[in-house]
Amino acid sequence: MSTITIENLSKHFEQHPVLQDLNLTIPDGSFFTLLGPSGCGKTTLLRCIAGFNEPDCGRILFDQDDITHVPAHQRNIGMVFQDYALFPDKSVHDNVAYGLRARKVAPDEVRVRTAEALALVDLTSFASRLPAQLSGGQRQRVALARALVIKPRVLLMDEPLSNLDAKLRLSMRDMIRDLQRQARITTVFVTHDQEEALALSDQVAVMQSGGIAQMGAPDSLYALPETAYVADFVGSANLLEVEFMGPGQVTLAGQTLQVDTAAARSGERNQLVLRAETLELLPEDEPGPSNCLRVTLAGRQYLGARTLLRVALAGGLTLQVDAPGLQRYQTGQALCLRVPPSSRVICR
Amino acid sequence: MKLVHRRFQWLGALTLGLAALAAQAQTVVLYSSNNPEAIGNAVAAAKKKHPALAVKQVTGGTGILMKRIQAEAANPGGDLFWSGGVGTLAAFPDLMEPYVSPEAKAIAPQFHVPGNRYIGVNVHVMVLMVNDKQLKGMASPKTWSDLMKPEWKGKVVITDPAKSGTAFIQIYGLLKQFGREGLEKMAANAVVVQSSGQVYKSVAAGEYPVGITIESSAYEFVVGGQKEIKLVYPSEGTYLGAEGMFIVKGAKNPAAAKQFYDVLLSKAAQEMLLVENYRRPTRSDIAVSKLTSMPDLASLKVFPLNLQVATEEYEQLIALWNLALAKAKR
C-alpha cells in the first residue's frame, strides 16, 4: 500500500512523444483512474508504473522508493490485464497460487490464502477448472484474485472490463470497488469509459496527448470541467460559443442567459457547457422561471426510460437534450429550452 | 593396509589401461569395394581366427575409396583396403605399406609384386552375362566377334572404362585382341553405364540382353536362382583381371590390419570366398572346379594381357575408346 509519485515522466516511441513531462501523485489506498481515448498515453503510463515500459526521463516512486529502474518482477505490483492473461495450462487454483509460490510462501499458507482469494471473488467451486472452461467474467475474477492474493504495493488494471458485456461490466465494477476498499490498496485503473471512471474512482486524471488535461474527484470533473475536451469527455456536453456580457451573464443567438461565468474571460473565446441531462424542454409559452432559449424540435428518439431530443436554435445550431420518460413534443414545434444557471462557461 | 590399497589401485588402473590399449589394437577399419556378403564372410573368417578383432567397414567403389585414401594421406582413416584392380593399385604406391605375409608363399607367383606393396587376392574372369528372356529370338552370343555384329546395336551394356578397373581391362583386351576396328565395332553397339554395378543389375532386370562383366558378379544371379541368366565365356579367349589388397600407409591399427590381411590370404578364407561369393582364389592350392561348378582356369581359353603395359597405356586407351564412341554416334 504505497503512494505513487510520478515526477517529470517522459517517453516517446520512434520519435513520437507519448508521455510529456508528467507529474502526478496518487495517494496511498486510493482508487485512481487514468481516463482518455486511445493514444492519449494512459496505458503507456500504466506500463511505466508496472515496469514494462522504460521512461526516457523522470522518476517513479512508491512511497520513498525510487523504482524507476527496478525491473518489473521486483516491484511487488499486482496487474490485471484487458485479456485476463491467465496461464492456459494451469488450473484456477494454480493461477491464483502462482505469485505466492514465486515468493516461496509455505505450501500450507499458499493453500489458505488461495482459498481466501477465491472466496473473495466467489469462485471457490471452480478451483480445479482450466481457463478455457471459464466464461469471460469468471476469468477476469480469477485475474483479480491472482493479483490481490500476493498483497502487492499497488494494483494496476489495464481496461479490465472492456472485453465483458454490459451487464457483466456493471456487476464487476461493484466487485472491484468492494475488493479495493476492503484491501485498501492503491489502485491505478485505466479506461476509456467515462462512466466506469466516474463510478469507481476517488480521483480521475483525464489524459490528453501525453499529458493530464484535468485531474480531480469525479463530481468536480463532471460539474467543473476546465476545457472543452474534458467537458466533452466526462459526460456528454453541448458546447456553444457565447459572448461574455458580465458576471453571470452571457448572450447566445441573441438571447441572454444566467450562467456560471467564473471561468469566463472577456476577449477570449468563451464556450458554454450544457449537459444534455440538465436541460429541460417546456412549451413555448410556459410561464415560470426564465433562462430559456427559444428552440424548435428537430428530432427525437424514445428509449423507454428517457427520450433523446434534438433541438435547433435560430441560426441552425443543434443541441442534444436527454429528458426522462416520454416527451410528447412534435417535430417542428417551437419550444423553450431551460438552461440551469449552474451551467459553466469555460474559455479553453 | 593403506599401502595394499594403493597397490590395488595401481594394478586396477594398469589393467584398465592395458585393456583399453588391447581393445584399441583389436579394431581394424576396412575399406572395401566388395559386396556385403563377401565382406560379411571375410569378417566372419577373421573373427573366427581372431575373436577379439572388431571390424569397421567403409564401402564404396574402388575409385572412390582410392580417392578417399589419397585425400586422407596425412591422417589415414582406413587400415586395410580390400580389394581393387591391380592396374588401379599400381598407380598409388605412395599410399601403401609394404608387408610380406606368412601366407604369401601359397599365393601363385604372378600375383606378387616387387616391393610387396600389394598382393593379388583374387582373380576375375571377364564373361558375357546373358539374359535369355531378353534375347527375343536372337541366338545367344558365344564370342566377342558375335557382339560386334550390327544386330547387337544398343543391346550390349558395358561400364565406362574410366570409371571401372575391370571395364578398363575388358576394353584393353578387346583392343589388343581385335585392334582399333574391333574396338570401334563394339563401341557402335555398346550402351555405356557409369558403374560396374549397373551392368549386372540392368541385365538381371531385363533391360539389356547382354552385359560384359565379371564372373563373380554374374554368377551370383545364376546361383541366386534367376533362371534366365546365363554365363558365357567367349570362346575366342577371355581376359583375366587380378584384384589386390594393401595395408594403408600410416594406418592407425597396423597390427590388426596385418591380422586381417593374413586371414584373407589363408586357405580357409579363400575357399569360403570362392564357394560362397564366387571369388576365384590366388592361392595355388585350391581346386576351383572341385569346390564349385565354375570351370578351372586351366580349362578356359584366356587371351593373355600384360597389365603393367596396360597401366602405362591407360590414357591412350581411354582416349581411343571415347573416340570410338564419338565416331559411332555420327
Binding site: R103, R146 | V193, G197, A204, F221
Partner: protein, 550 residues
C-alpha cells in the same frame, strides 16, 4: 550500463543463435560460391561456369531437371487440387481414410519409396512379373515414368494440404453472392473460387518445384541414364574428391540460383496476389450419395493404397528369401533381418544416435529461435528469421558439399566426426520446428508473460514457467517431426558421411545400388518402424497434430 543490461539474456541468445546459423549455413555457402569461382591454382576463374553452360551433358542435366520439375509439379497439382476440393466440399463413405495421407508421407522416407517401387515395378519386380505373366505390356520403370510416378505420389501432399487450407478458409458467401447475381456454378467456381484459391495453390506448387529440382534419392535410384542436376553434382563431388572442387561448386551454385529464382518469384509475384480472406464460413461439405459417393470412396481407397504400397513392399521384401541379388518372391526367410541386426547393426545405432541428438538440439534451438523472432523482436531477430529459412532453399546435396568443403581443413575439422552428421540434420530440419513453434507463439498474447513477471517471476523464469508449458504439445509434435525427417535424411548425409558413420538411409541407398534388395528391405523395415512408433504413440495417446503450421 542500462543498454548492456537490456541485451541480456535475449539479445545475447539472438546473437549466439545467429552466429550458429551463420557458421553452419552462410559460411559454407560462401565457401562454396568462392570455390566455384577459383580454379585449382587458386586464381579467379569462370571456367567452372563456362563448363557448366558450355558442355552438353551439363546443359542436358539442367534442362532435364527443369523439365522434371515442371512435369512433377503439374501432375502433383493434378492429384492434389481435385483431392482437396473433394475433401473440402463433399462427404462420402471412407472419407476419414484420407486424413492419414499426409502422415504417411512423413513416415515413409523417399529412399524407401524408390526402393519399394523398384521392387514392385522394376523390370524384375513383383508386379511387373505378375503383369507380364498375364501377357500385359510393362513399360520400363527407370527414367521419366518411374520418377514422375513416385515423385508425384510423394509431393502431391504439399499441394493437397495447401489447397485444402485455402478452401477451408474461403468464405462461402462469396460464392452465394455470385450465384445470386446470375452466374452458373461452373462460372462461379472459375471466376470467384479459383482466383482466390489460386495463389495458395501456386505457392505450394512452387515449393514442390524447388523440392523436385533438388531431389536426390529418387532421381538417382530411378533416374536411369537421364542426366539430372543433383545426381550429377553428387558424382562430381565423389570424383573430384581430393582435387579442385570448382566444377562441383559451379554446378551447385547453378542449382541454388534456380531455386532462389523460383522462391523470389514466389515471394514477389504470387504472395503479393494472395487475398486476405476476411474470416468467413466455408460451405459445409455436401453429402454425396449412391454411385458418385461410392466412386469417390473408391478413389480415396486407391490413393491411400498407392501411398501405402511402399510400406507393405519393404516389409514383404525384408522377410522374402534372398540369395545374393536375387529375390525369391513367395519364399520367406528371416535371414535378411538377422543379418541387419547381428552382422551389421551399426547403421541402426548411428541413425538412432544422430537423429536423437539432432532432435534434442534442433527442437531446443527451434523453440529458442521462434521465441526470439516472435516475442523478442529486434534487428538481430529479424536477421535470425531469414537465416533460419535459408537452409530450406538449399538442396541437401549442395548443403552437404558446402559443409564438406568448409570443414575438412583447419581451424575447424568436422568431416569424419558424428558432429557433422548431426549438424546436417539440425540445419536442414530445424526450420520446420521453428514454423511449428512460431504459429503457437503468435497465438500466445504477450500479456500472459507480463502477468507472470508482474507476479514476481523474472523474465527468464517466466519463459520456463509460463511459455514453455503452453508450447508443450507443439514442441512434442515438432520433435517428432524433427526425428522422423532427420532419421530419413539422405541427400546431405550421403555427401558428408565417412567410415563408421553410415546411417540407415545411406546403407539402404548403397545396398539398392548394388542390388541387395533383401538387406535393403530389412534396414528399410527398421527405419520405418523407428519413425512409425513415435508418430503412432503421439497420435494415439497425446492427440498431437503434426501439421499445425505446416
Amino acid at each position: 550500463m542500462r543498454r548492456w543490461r537490456s541485451l541480456w539474456p535475449w539479445g545475447v541468445l539472438s546473437a549466439l543463435s545467429l552466429a550458429l546459423l551463420v557458421l553452419f549455413v552462410a559460411y559454407p555457402m560462401s565457401v562454396l560460391t568462392l570455390n566455384s569461382l577459383h580454379d585449382a591454382q587458386g586464381r579467379l576463374s569462370l571456367a567452372g561456369f563456362a563448363t557448366v553452360f558450355g558442355e552438353s551433358q551439363y546443359l542436358q542435366a539442367i534442362g532435364n531437371t527443369l523439365l522434371l520439375g515442371v512435369t512433377v509439379t503439374l501432375s502433383a497439382m493434378a492429384v492434389g487440387v481435385p483431392l482437396a476440393y473433394v475433401i473440402a466440399r463433399f462427404d462420402f463413405p471412407l472419407k476419414s481414410l484420407v486424413a492419414i495421407l499426409p502422415v504417411v508421407t512423413i513416415i515413409i522416407p523417399e529412399v524407401i519409396v524408390g526402393q519399394s517401387w523398384l521392387m514392385m515395378l522394376g523390370n524384375n519386380g513383383l508386379i511387373s512379373n505378375f503383369l507380364r505373366e498375364l501377357g500385359l505390356p510393362v513399360p520400363s520403370f527407370y527414367g521419366w515414368s518411374g520418377m514422375i510416378f513416385s515423385m508425384t505420389l510423394i509431393y502431391y501432399t504439399y499441394i493437397y494440404l495447401g489447397t485444402l487450407a485455402a478452401l477451408r478458409g474461403f468464405d462461402g458467401q462469396l460464392e452465394e453472392a455470385s450465384l445470386s447475381l446470375g452466374a452458373s456454378p461452373l462460372a462461379t467456381r472459375l471466376r470467384v473460387l479459383l482466383p482466390t484459391v489460386a495463389p495458395a495453390i501456386l505457392v505450394n506448387a512452387l515449393v514442390v518445384f524447388t523440392l523436385v529440382v533438388g531431389n536426390f534419392a529418387l532421381s538417382s535410384m530411378l533416374g536411369g541414364q537421364i542426366p539430372l542436376l543433383s545426381v550429377m553434382t553428387y558424382s562430381l563431388f565423389v570424383s573430384e574428391m581430393g582435387s579442385s572442387p570448382m566444377l562441383q561448386s559451379s554446378l551447385s551454385v547453378v542449382l541454388v540460383l534456380i531455386v532462389a529464382l523460383v522462391l523470389f518469384v514466389q515471394k514477389r509475384v504470387v504472395e503479393r496476389r494472395m487475398v486476405q480472406m476476411v474470416q468467413g464460413r466455408a460451405p459445409a461439405p455436401r453429402q454425396v450419395q449412391n454411385w458418385q459417393g461410392k466412386l469417390l470412396a473408391l478413389a480415396a481407397v486407391l490413393l491411400v493404397t498407392l501411398s501405402l504400397v511402399p510400406l507393405v513392399a519393404v516389409v514383404v521384401g525384408a522377410f522374402t528369401r534372398a540369395r545374393g541379388p536375387v529375390m525369391h518372391w513367395g519364399e520367406w526367410s528371416t535371414q535378411s533381418m538377422e543379418r541387419a541386426f547381428s552382422l551389421a547393426p551399426e547403421p541402426i545405432f548411428n541413425s538412432m544416435l544422430f537423429a536423437g541428438v539432432a532432435t534434442l538440439l534442433g527442437t531446443s534451438l527451434a523453440l529458442l529461435v521462434s521465441y526470439l523472432v516472435v516475442k523478442k523482436k529486434s534487428g538481430l531477430s529479424a536477421l535470425l528469421d531469414y537465416a533460419v529459412v535459408l537452409p530450406l532453399t538449399i538442396s541437401g546435396t549442395v548443403l552437404g558439399i558446402a559443409l564438406v568443403q568448409s570443414f575438412n581443413t583447419a581451424p575447424l575439422i568436422l568431416t569424419g566426426t558424428s558432429a557433422i552428421m548431426i549438424i546436417v540434420y539440425v540445419v536442414r530440419r530445424m526450420p520446420f520446428g521453428v514454423r511449428n513453434a512460431s504459429s503457437v507463439l503468435y497465438n500466445l498474447p504477450n500479456s500472459v508473460e507480463e502477468a507472470s513477471i508482474s507476479l514476481g517471476v523474472s523474465p527468464l523464469m517466466s519463459f520456463f514457467k509460463v511459455v514453455l508449458p503452453v508450447m508443450k504439445t507443439s514442441m512434442l509434435s515438432a520433435a517428432i517431426l524433427m526425428w522422423a525427417t532427420s532419421i530419413s535424411e539422405l541427400s546431405a548425409s550421403v555427401v558428408v558421411y565417412s567410415g563408421g558413420l553410415e546411417t540407415l538411409p545411406i546403407s539402404i541407398f548403397r545396398l539398392v545400388d548394388t542390388g541387395r534388395l533383401g538387406l535393403a528391405s530389412a534396414y528399410g523395415t527398421v527405419l520405418v518402424t523407428l519413425i512409425l512408433v513415435p508418430v503412432a504413440l503421439a497420435a494415439r495417446f497425446l492427440k498431437v497434430n503434426l501439421f499445425s503450421g505446416k
